[in-house]
């Protein structure tokens, strides 16, 4: 019984699917944000798994990419939080069903 690349990729796929469901189906803005963070984590896991298992000229470029993804995810979470506060201030709600001014 050994653990190979496919195991990690399947875990990444499951995490990504869960994150996608959260991002699409949650009514609370913070729930959506949680889904987005899960998707980032799934992508990172896939990168690191590839970096460990796959033939490459510079294997650590996967890790470098993950560092950048973590950085950008942190910045994006901060700005998303600021936007959520602004929306709450103006619309008195962060219910995704009610934030629909741009709908047709």
């Amino acid at each position: 019984m050994s653990v190979g690349l496919e195991h990690y990729l399947v875990v990444g796929a499951l995490l990504f699917g869960t994150g996608l469901y959260l991002a699409l189906a949650k009514r609370n803005f913070v729930g959506v944000l949680m889904g987005v963070e899960l998707m980032f984590n799934a992508a990172n896991l896939t990168f690191v798994a590839f970096s460990r298992f796959v033939e490459s000229a510079e294997p650590l470029s996967g890790h470098v990419f993950v560092i950048f993804v973590i950085t950008v995810a942190a910045a994006e979470a901060a700005v998303a939080l600021a936007l959520a506060m602004l929306v709450y201030r103006n619309r008195e709600t962060i219910d995704m069903d009610r934030i629909n001014l741009l709908k047709w």
């Binding site: 195991h7 499951l14 990504f16 189906a25 949680m34 901060a78």
Partner: protein, 168 residues
Amino acid sequence: MDDAGSVIAFWLLAALTVGSALGVVAVRDLIRALVLLITSFLGVAGLYITLSADFVAVAQVLIYAGAISILLIFAIMLTPRASRDNAETFLQVPALLLAGLVAFTIGFISLQTDWPIAERGGFGETASAIGEALLDKYVLPFEMASVLLLVAMLGAIVLVRPEGTPEE
């Protein structure tokens, strides 16, 4: 990775990670969902360690479980109490179908493809190599990332400044 320790560690950590992620979907309270999300982050850090990515694992704990979770906590605190019930929108079923389809496609393709597996085994110390790469080959994205962080910080501060503050 054949030895028993790695296999047991992988299955336990994978169960923890995916279980916590599914828990985030299912629990009825937003704060509990957040705690399960933090558990999921820690599980992913554990999976990094099984992949001998030590620096990335510690960075994951430090940034995700230590800082982004706090951001989400503050986000929950600053929003109304009524919407802390972790409910779903009316798009539940289409979202479930789409997410299931995406997960299935990714899983299926990754199982079918013939990946060129290297025989090199785990890494030794990754921190120094990552550091050198960041300053040698990837110095431009590195500098741009610092500018991005600065802009994000300033943007977040400017966005939530209360209206009517005098320009100082």
